[in-house]
């Protein structure tokens, strides 16, 4: 814990000339309360994931009751992960990656257009592009389901429970994240860099590719990560746009909890938690965590 945040009232006491400052002060009640509070919050935040991983490693975990902390360590449940889970995970991964790519393709030009363009009503466009984030996911799910029914009745092309249908639904909520993060990077962008490149004789395209794009890349990565995660963890939209045999991983899990509590579910869930942690570690290496956190909104 850092001491700067715990400065106490006794700093008010007049300072002696140059005393040997005591190296250890008795922690105040406030400091202890703060540590306890933060620890409790972290316990609340992380306990569910720790428990899932822990109980997935336990051989005594049975269909009726889950055992935590684990008594005898085993990887048995990992061998028994049903094939349906791998299929669902595969679909989720492919979907989330393509949503992230699609969101970048649509989001980057839109962000450039909004920030650099000389259109009136810039704030209108920003609000417009942010709109899908404000709509509750359940409403988006119902709306797309309804849209596909109407479309299917009119054209005979039913998008329900198809990859394209699901993709459009997730793209709809994914694009705003890329736009948001790229806009926030662009607003801090130093235009002099581009001017310098242009005045040195670089073509506009070359300037864009060699100067603009590398500078906004952290925003792109952060936005793509958000789009990926939104798609990868979504239940309420996919719930309406999938069908038995064609489900994403979170939806498979959602129904799993209601039907049977198979401990193998805990095993595959643990794999996903570990995967998320690795992805985050890679991101930390690539662009730094602070960029991800700051470029939100």
């Amino acid at each position: 814990m850092n001491s700067a945040g715990t400065a106490t009232a006794d700093t008010r006491a007049p300072m002696p000339a140059l005393p040997a400052a005591p190296r250890w002060r008795r922690p105040t009640f406030g400091a202890i309360a703060k540590i306890v509070w933060v620890a409790a919050a972290y316990l609340f935040l992380l306990a569910p994931m720790v428990v899932v991983i822990g109980s997935s490693l336990d051989g005594a975990t049975v269909y009726s009751g889950v055992v935590f902390p684990p008594h005898d360590l085993t990887l048995r449940w990992y061998r028994e992960i049903p094939a349906a889970h791998y299929r669902a995970l595969g679909l989720s991964l492919v979907l989330a990656v393509s949503v992230a790519c699609g969101a970048c393709v649509l989001g980057i030009p839109a962000a450039l257009g909004v920030v650099r363009g000389r259109l009136p009503g810039k704030s209108f466009f920003l609000a417009f592009f942010r709109a899908p984030m404000q709509i509750p996911a359940v409403v988006t799910g119902v709306a797309f389901l309804k849209l596909y029914y109407v479309l299917g009745d009119a054209t005979g092309l039913f998008l329900n429970a198809s990859f394209v249908g699901l993709y459009l639904g997730h793209l709809f909520v994914g694009v705003p994240y890329v736009i948001g993060t790229v806009v926030s990077v662009l607003q801090r962008f130093n235009l002099r860099l581009e001017e310098a490149a242009l005045s040195m004789g670089a073509s506009p395209w070359r300037t864009f590719r060699r100067v603009t794009l590398p500078t906004i890349m952290p925003g792109v990565h952060a936005g793509a990560l958000y789009a990926f995660m939104v798609s990868f963890s979504d239940v309420p939209i996919a719930m309406f746009l999938t069908a038995p045999g064609f489900v994403t991983y979170p939806v498979e899990l959602f129904f799993g909890i209601e039907t049977d509590f198979n401990p193998a579910v805990l095993a595959s869930a643990s794999l996903v938690i570990v995967f998320s942690m690795c992805a985050l570690l890679a991101v930390q290496r690539l662009i730094g965590l602070d960029t991800v956190v700051r470029s939100r909104r």
Partner: protein, 284 residues
């Protein structure tokens, strides 16, 4: 530079507009047709669904329950996450990044997995219940499935990671020197909080709370799983009406009501920010 950046806007605008307008308009139109049973909708349009919704005590109570549960979850999340955000924002050691990473991991793992964890923690024969029984805190195993406390806990799990990250960026906009100045001039820690930290973070906290409230209002997964078929918040009701009862008209109507309430909260939030800016309370 003589590049027309404006043109870049066109493709994304067209796609986004098409998706937004097509989906929202078709479902809003759907909310105007009566259900004829077996998923069929009437051809004529009317307000009968809205009429039924606001006259049926069941639906009105669901709306009220959604607001109540969301408000409770928002307040609890705020109280829990503000100190965490503050501590991380003011830390100077490398541990700040680790603590931040913990929060980000939690907000990136799908809520379904976290609900599994909650179910395991509060299992009737789990160690937590055994402990509480042994201590005498409770006299029968406590379950979080099927009651509104469980739903509130689920919603807190859903919003807390997001809340900490949001409040972290709010605290980061308050220069630490202001707190130091107040302390040097003799303010106690509590006084610094009430007179410096709180007023300066208030706009961010209010906007953040409204965003959290919105998230809770629309939260489906945790409310559905922990409600256990007994607690019906609006999103849960929408899914049931559409998928189980196949009443597409009524489902769309409920969705429209949810959408309108969320938009209203957003407008309030925008209005509040403008007022606070005008009052020069926002420094960043």
């Amino acid at each position: 530079m003589n590049i027309r950046w404006d043109y870049l806007l066109i493709p994304s605008f067209v796609v986004s507009f098409a998706l937004l307008a097509a989906s929202q308009l078709t479902f809003l139109r759907g909310s105007l047709s009566a259900d004829l049973g077996l998923g069929m909708l009437s051809k004529s349009l009317g307000l009968q669904n809205y009429d039924a919704l606001f006259n049926d005590e069941f639906y009105v109570r669901a709306l009220w329950l959604t607001v109540k549960v969301s408000a409770m979850a928002t307040v609890c999340t705020l109280l829990m996450s503000f100190p965490v955000a503050y501590v991380i924002a003011r830390m100077r050691s490398r541990w700040a990044m680790v603590m931040l990473a913990g929060v980000v991991v939690s907000s990136f793992v799908t809520i379904v997995i976290k609900v599994y964890g909650l179910v395991v923690i509060f299992a009737a024969d789990g160690w937590l219940n055994k402990l509480m029984l042994a201590v005498g805190l409770i006299d029968q195993p406590y379950t979080i499935i099927g009651n509104s406390t469980g739903v509130v806990v689920g919603l807190m799990q859903f919003t807390m990671g997001f809340a900490v990250l949001l409040l972290y960026s709010v605290v980061r906009t308050i220069p630490e020197s202001l707190e130091e100045a107040a302390t040097i001039h003799g303010a106690s820690r509590a006084r610094v909080f009430w007179r410096v930290i709180l007023p300066l973070s208030l706009p961010g906290v209010i906007v953040g709370s409204l965003m959290m409230f919105n998230m809770c209002m629309g939260a489906f997964t945790s409310a559905s799983l922990l409600g256990g078929g007994r607690i019906f918040t609006l999103p849960v009701l929408i899914q049931r009406t559409v998928i189980i009862e196949t009443k597409y008209g009524m489902g769309a109507t409920l969705a429209a009501v949810l959408l309108v309430s969320v938009i209203l909260i957003n407008l309030v939030s925008v209005f509040l920010v403008k007022r606070l800016r005008a009052a020069r309370l926002v420094i960043a």
